[in-house]
């Protein structure tokens, strides 16, 4: 059992407490989903439960945290590590062994267990996470989901009673997420207490016994999931994502909030139908109207690419034409070739075969630098894009390199900062900002150059809903000015709402290309790429109507009903 009493914590060198007078209890064998907007103190709380706070991080701690009766302040991390296992967001940052079993052995070795016990611990942990055939596999050969499961196994081998996970799905594709969630479910079924911090509430809510929401260092909601989603306003106010099933339950007037598709099916079979006509909120389209262009912005003709002659093709015989002003989303599992395609359009990779044309220029004859100001690219980790002392200098860097006049430069920098909502951060060091803010700075630093093409690799990864929505809406608005946008995503709802066209990739090939609403109907295609259609679509099928998001569902059904 975890017991937190009046816990307050202030990081060293800071005057404002990150956690303020927080009290909570997690019973043995429970599975708690801890969520909240970026920077609300979730990760800090996890570190305190694990004992890293205050033992490793210092700072000022008040109140008390007890793990199965052990006061974390009076118990050393060595002892606590046998009680609580902590998993971080990015498995690549915590896995340091080159062979799977070595990583799992690290904890038991540190506990000085005899070799026989270490072997038993490894076997048991790898079996629990479904990697029992992977003992001697190289860690670099694992997929994202396998790596995260390995990270879980590396703490399970120490037989902890409690597992805490800090956004374990953030870096994963749909296949990886499914694997990790299945593992978490199994562990919890076996009696392990689990605390899961996650923004992707819609994917994990149905697993949880309780949902806790934090805001500014305090818990503002602590309920079992059904009761939590009764208070949908709290989620919306904090910009958190509500599972579609819960939203649909509200919209369709279910007596009890449904958490799964099965529950919604039951309701529909019982005769419940949408009774609410589309409100002004529901009816308003997410994206503005715009005119189609016939001009080509990006083109691939018979493009194949391989990183290494001994390895297979990452892109294979791709033919693709993207028009100016189009917003194109790119989906598929990790390793399907999405990022490689982006890098080709930025002239950072040259095709092994075929031709890539960017704004009517053949990239084989181009240096990436020659596309500066015409093509902007943002990678998944914005940290790698920021290097100036202040946000203002960061956003001004590109225009300065392109020799914009001083007046124009200032104007473009101000416009970009205002559009991304970071004008108030102009004198801050970009690297000191939160993940969401850093991404906005990175995007502002691209848009200030007024590129004709913007390429984004997973712009919504690790962002809360309000952040990712406003960001994609802004990009869609840019497309109205003729700017071409190509972004990769694992979020099918984002693709539906904010793109004109969806490309689905699998094993280096485009297996579907067309309007998102058309592709969602292709069940075989989605299955191949491990994509699931939104809940609204499935409900629409049950109701005999075409729906791709909740607004469609409520509006259509109300009209037809």
């Amino acid at each position: 059992m975890i017991k937190i009493e009046n816990f307050t914590y202030t990081y060293p060198g800071r005057s404002v407490s990150t956690i303020k007078d927080l009290s909570a209890e997690v019973p043995e064998g429970g599975l708690v989903l801890l969520t909240g907007p970026t920077g609300c103190g979730k990760s800090t709380l996890l570190k305190a439960i694990n004992g890293l706070i205050p033992h490793l991080m210092g700072g000022r701690m008040e109140g008390k945290i007890e793990i199965n009766g052990l006061d974390t302040r009076k118990t050393d991390i060595f002892t606590l590590s046998r009680k609580v296992g902590l998993i971080f967001q990015n498995p690549d940052d915590q896995i340091f062994s080159t062979v799977v079993q070595d990583e799992v052995a690290f904890g038991p070795e540190n506990l000085a267990l005899p070799r026989k016990m270490i072997r038993q611990g490894i076997d048991k942990a790898l079996k629990l996470v479904g990697l029992d055939e992977f003992h001697h596999r190289g860690t670099h050969m694992l997929s994202g989901g396998e790596k995260q499961r390995l990270a879980i196994a590396s703490v399970l081998s120490m037989s902890p009673d409690i597992l805490i996970l800090d956004e374990p799905l953030a870096q994963l594709d749909p296949r990886g997420s499914t694997e990790v969630l299945k593992t978490i479910r199994t562990l919890n079924d076996n009696g392990m207490t689990v605390i899961l911090v996650e923004h992707r509430i819609h994917e994990v809510a149905h697993l949880a016994d309780r949902i806790m929401i934090m805001e500014k260092g305090r818990i503002v909601l602590d309920e079992e999931p059904r009761a939590a989603f009764e208070r949908i306003d709290v989620f919306k106010k904090l910009g958190l994502r509500v599972p579609e099933s819960a939203e649909i339950s509200h919209a369709m007037g279910f007596k009890k909030v449904a958490l799964t598709m099965e529950e919604i099916k039951k309701g529909i079979n019982a005769g419940i139908r949408p009774a609410v006509a589309p409100s002004s909120n529901h009816a308003s389209p997410e994206t503005p109207e715009k005119e189609d262009s016939d001009e080509t912005a990006l083109e691939m003709e018979g493009v194949s690419f391989q990183y290494d002659r001994r390895a297979g093709f990452v892109l294979e015989d791709i033919y693709l034409n993207i028009r100016k002003g189009e917003v194109v989303s790119l989906m598929g599992n990790n390793g399907s070739g999405k990022s490689t395609m982006l890098l080709h359009f930025a002239a950072l990779l040259k095709p092994s075969r075929g031709r890539v044309t960017v704004l009517a220029r053949d990239t084989r004859k181009l240096e990436a630098r020659q596309l500066a100001g015409m093509v902007g690219i943002a990678f998944q980790d914005p940290t790698l894009m920021l290097f100036n002392e202040t946000v203002w200098k960061e956003v001004a860097f590109g225009p300065r390199m392109l020799h914009f006049g001083e007046t124009k430069l200032r104007q473009k920098v101000e416009d970009a900062m205002n559009a991304m909502g970071i004008a108030g951060l102009r004198d801050e060091n970009p690297l000191s900002l939160s993940g969401g803010q850093r991404l906005r700075v990175a995007l502002a630093s691209i848009s200030s150059m007024q590129p004709e093409v913007i390429l984004l690799d997973e712009p919504t990864s690790g962002q809360d809903k309000s952040n990712s929505d406003s960001l994609l809406r802004y990009l869609y608005e840019l497309s109205g000015k003729g700017i071409t946008i190509l972004f990769t995503t694992h979020d099918i709802e984002a693709a539906i709402r904010y793109s004109d066209r969806l490309l689905v990739m699998n094993n280096g090939k485009i297996i579907a290309d067309g309007p998102p609403r058309k592709i969602i109907k292709e069940a075989e295609t989605l299955k191949k790429a491990n994509l699931r259609p939104p809940v609204s679509f499935k409900i629409g099928e049950l109701l005999g109507i075409e729906a791709f998001c909740i607004e469609d569902l409520v509006g259509e059904a109300a009209c037809s009903g």
Binding site: I77, D93, F96, T98, E109, V155, L348, L386, F387, N388
Partner: protein, 295 residues
């Protein structure tokens, strides 16, 4: 053109060099380094470096690795030989080629004449071969040994676990670092930065490139540190190991031969130096002084 990332990947193989115990490899590395520093004559250093060639051929690396090592050795040798041959300042020195005569207009007067010296060339050759031998032996071991085996080897050779862990972890994350470096350069090029041009902006460009890479490394180090701590890592406490290392007869013989050879050369050179400086002289060691003079 070869890919720099090739440098950081450990190969898998079954030949002799892969099967050696990591302790043997580390002792060989230490011994070769010691011998390379102790020897002065280019011909002896050349022999030492030739000794590495069969091991490289047996390792059967991918072609890119051979290209990399060839290029490093070539650049190292070329740079050392040329710079020492041109700027050798010790006496005696013998001019073998005049590049700029002292009476050449302007440049002759400014440089005082530019020549290639025989003694400088030989000295540069020795330095270059020393550098090449050490780099080649280091890479040979890095490319044929899994980091976990190196870690265990270092620990068994009594290197404190904390230090060994730190060293191996930094080696392990080298490929990630290289990959991030390329990403940063790519991003900056697309924002109009000229990241490869040498000139007055070179330092600024280097800072711009290193800042995000270092920031990411610091973040990664913090996560890794927290992850290790929460898995009971404590370098000061005793720990056990899953893997066992076993010395074969070949390992024992090679390790002994390497250590004895390195120790013998160091002792001979030290005694010779004591004799030359007039500190210590044993008449019955005259045969050894003769050998030392030739090394």
């Amino acid at each position: 053109m070869f890919r720099i990332r090739t440098l950081t990947v450990v190969e898998k193989g079954d030949s002799f060099i892969y099967r050696l115990d990591p302790r043997t490899k580390l002792l060989l590395l230490l011994s070769i380094g010691t011998i390379a520093i102790s020897l002065d004559k280019p011909e002896h250093l050349l022999l030492l470096s030739i000794f590495l060639i069969p091991s490289y051929l047996l390792a059967r690396f991918e072609l890119n690795k051979y290209k990399v090592i060839f290029l490093i050795v070539l650049i190292g040798l070329w740079g050392m030989v040329l710079s020492q041959a041109m700027f050798y300042r010790q006496w005696p020195r013998t001019v073998i080629l005049t590049i700029i005569p002292v009476d050449f207009p302007v440049l002759g007067r400014v440089t005082g004449g530019l020549y290639l010296y025989k003694e400088g060339l030989l000295y540069g050759l020795a330095q270059g071969l020393r550098f090449a031998t050490m780099i080649a032996s280091g890479l040979l071991i890095a490319w044929t040994t899994e980091p976990r085996d190196l870690l265990l080897g270092l620990v068994r050779l009594k290197v404190p676990y904390g230090m060994a862990f730190m060293f191996i972890t930094s080696v392990r994350f080298l490929p990630v670092l290289v990959s991030e470096l390329f990403t940063v350069i790519a991003v900056q090029r697309l924002r109009g930065a000229d990241t490869v041009r040498l000139g007055r902006h070179t330092l600024r460009s280097a800072i711009n490139i290193l800042t995000p890479v270092l920031a990411r490394s610091v973040k990664r180090a913090a996560t890794l540190g927290a992850s290790c701590e929460s898995r009971a890592f404590n370098p000061n406490l005793p720990r056990t190991y899953l893997r066992e290392l076993r010395y074969s007869r070949i390992d024992i013989m090679l390790s002994m031969a390497a250590v004895i050879a390195a120790a013998a050369i160091v002792v001979i050179k030290t005694l010779f130096w004591l004799y030359c400086t007039g500190i210590l002289y044993f008449p019955w060691l005259r045969w050894m002084y003769t050998i030392a003079r030739e090394l």
